[in-house]
Symmetry: C2
Subunit: 329 residues, 2 copies
Amino acid sequence: MKTSHIVLAGFGNVGRAFFRLIQEKRAVLLDRYDLDVGVKAIIRRRGGHVSSGSVEGRIDNEGWDPGVKLENVLKNLKPGVLVECLPSSLKGGEPALSAIRKALALGWHVAASSKGPLVVDYQGLQAAARHNDVQLRYSAAAGAALPSLDIGRISLAGAEILRIEGILNGTSNYILTRMSEGLDYATALAEAQAKGIAEPDPANDVQGWDTAAKLVIIANAILDVSFTLDDVRVEGIADFIKYAISRARAEGKKIKLLAKLTRRGEGYALSVAPELIGPAQPLFGVDGTSKGITFYTDSMGIVTISGGQSDPRGAAAALLKDIIGMFQG
Amino acid sequence: MKTSHIVLAGFGNVGRAFFRLIQEKRAVLLDRYDLDVGVKAIIRRRGGHVSSGSVEGRIDNEGWDPGVKLENVLKNLKPGVLVECLPSSLKGGEPALSAIRKALALGWHVAASSKGPLVVDYQGLQAAARHNDVQLRYSAAAGAALPSLDIGRISLAGAEILRIEGILNGTSNYILTRMSEGLDYATALAEAQAKGIAEPDPANDVQGWDTAAKLVIIANAILDVSFTLDDVRVEGIADFIKYAISRARAEGKKIKLLAKLTRRGEGYALSVAPELIGPAQPLFGVDGTSKGITFYTDSMGIVTISGGQSDPRGAAAALLKDIIGMFQG
């Protein structure tokens, strides 16, 4: 039996879903993976829940101790796994970035869900993990239940990646799908917001920045490079003309917000932009809130993965997968 | 630097492709994976090539030493990796099964490409690998460059697999695709044979046994069960009526030779049969010689992987991936 414990930082949608999932999966972790990981503490901005055993059951807005700070909890416990479900800015990475840095420095493994820290300081975080001999995993930040990193790093090991194309943002894909069905942009966006698919401020999704962040994270992880958002040419769908979509439809094609990594000389070019794709392309069937990614390789042909639950439960499942992976083999 | 060596058993299409690929990838293995693995010997029925350094360059029909036997080579060398590219029967697993058993018993890791041994004696081979503290990997036997096992075991770790659907045989899929384009069965088969897609004796492919073998291997590997071919209800495409295909087409649907694993009570039901699928199903776009597999899960949603080079080079790349995996963290 492998035993460890978790400190959960952040208790928004993903943090809550993770806390529910880890309780739901307790028997599976024990039986199938011989793994006993309890949640020792949940910390959010307004305080924390800490237990000498494990925090369990339903946690609502009651009983948060405002004196509990993440740093102190990480210092006072034997290192285990920090599950990071904090907000993060794609600009500075905070507040998630500082939390991850502290945890790594104190010898904690980290399962991260925030894109900001990885986009801002991928190489720094990798170096900190190596230096402290701990693991930093971040499937939840790179497609979540869509296992883009596993494919790129494990399944395609030994192959040369010649090109990557991805539909990496469910919100913009949903809007484009609805537009191809006849809605105009404003109506499609309003519908997505009403359904909870788009956030009240949809800028990161529709302007392509969320897609670009995932592309940067995937590229850095798989190709061992150190791109930032500044290296990506980004064009969103906000101003994209309905006419092009109807015309694509008339030709049996679709407009998709496509993340692309292509070879350029000795390096790579990264872009996010609406592009026309036809039925012969592997991502053609990826509609609605679905996501997908295609790897073009030298020795394994073209490998596409699509689907993966696009919600907090899917992100929580990706965090859980990363934790299981930390203690395997 | 991790150093090991390879004995390659079998020098048919896959064996040859592997021998070419491992030479082509020598620098990548060193630079990216810090791995030095030379081929110490190639053994086929009619003899072997053995080197005190490594066997390199072009190997043709010249220079095979008829006195070289696999068992002796495995006994006389320090254990490394047996790369198994032998023929195998889906009935008895031979001759690949005996070769793998010998290698495991002598302390060799095995990267296997043959389906027969895994279908016939999965649990026995697993037990032998555990007993001898060596690794047995077999991506090449379970979809090759289509990473069905990685997804099921690594990417979906912690998730419950509720259902699997797969198009796992490129030959039958090619024939069905061509039939949906108007060809009759005999013409589509003849065309596939002329292109080298179908073998002169296409029985295993068109009768569904190759698909069933892959389904059994995937189920055993992912769900830790021990099915054999006897547990699969198998129906092929050979006698499938053209009328059903035209009718599917008229409705915007397709007939696919679908491998399915579903829950039944506490266990699972396995089947291979031609089935009608519609455009909303994730495998709808998997045409021609392509393959694909969909996992339905409780916490990660629906995850589909498709593509993956369907030829000896793809199989060789899967063997290489497995070897890299053996020496990673």
